[in-house]
Amino acid sequence: MRLEYFQMVDRITALDIPGKRITVSAQVPDHSPVFEGHFPGHPILPGVLMIETMAQTGGWLVLATMRLEKMPFLMQVEKAKMRAFVEPGAAMEIEARLEHEGSGYAVIAGTIRSGGKKVAEADIRYGVVPFPNDTLRAAMLDTARRVGVPEELLHG
């Protein structure tokens, strides 16, 4: 994870498009300016970044399902629960399940596990729209390769 760049997903560890599931790994960094403020003397991963991590995980499932032809943008978060602190250096496993692929929107259920227990969960919805420009699409293709989206899904 590179928190300052909103790179929350390190690697896709399992992708099952027919089964509508994805699992990714994310290693919380030992050091980050984020921890200087959140909180002094008690560094923990902010809950909003846990939500962002689930949103990006589900986003990769939506992107892969649509073969990167459209871009999911976060629109709604429901039933978000932060169940435990996540400290610097923690390893996280994030799973997302595609609950519904609508027309122009998608719904996923996300969970984060760390240290053998569930630490966060949320229901997340996206607006799924054409890429607004080529710059973003190219950047998403580069990132898709970095996180391990299978190459055959990257060519429409």
């Binding site: 629109m75 519904h100 609508g102 027309s103 122009g104 929107y105 607006g127």
Partner: protein
């Protein structure tokens, strides 16, 4: 079993916090009921789930943007319900 209209009106009432007696078959979801795009996403998701369909919102939006139909075709509730019935029938066929 509830009619399509009763189900849709119930979804809109629950999702958008609008009293049921303010909703009629002639209500326009946007112009009369004031449902915004984010709330309509909730309504669409609930309708898709309730009827086991996928409303083609992108296609409908395109038709409106191209001037082929007015928003009344998809947002006046009696018309929306007729379109839902067609999607349900097409799925069953």
């Amino acid at each position: 079993m509830a009619s399509t209209y009763e189900t849709v009106a119930g979804i809109i009432s629950d999702t958008c916090d609008i009293e049921l007696d303010k909703i009629t078959p002639d209500s326009h979801a946007i112009n009369d009921l004031g449902i915004d795009s984010l709330d309509f996403l909730d309504v669409a998701f609930a309708i898709d789930k309730a009827f086991g369909i996928k409303m083609p919102l992108e296609q409908w939006t395109q038709e409106v943007n191209e001037g082929k139909v007015t928003t009344d075709e998809y947002f006046v509730l009696k018309n929306l319900c007729a379109n839902i019935d067609k999607l349900v029938a097409a799925k069953a066929a």
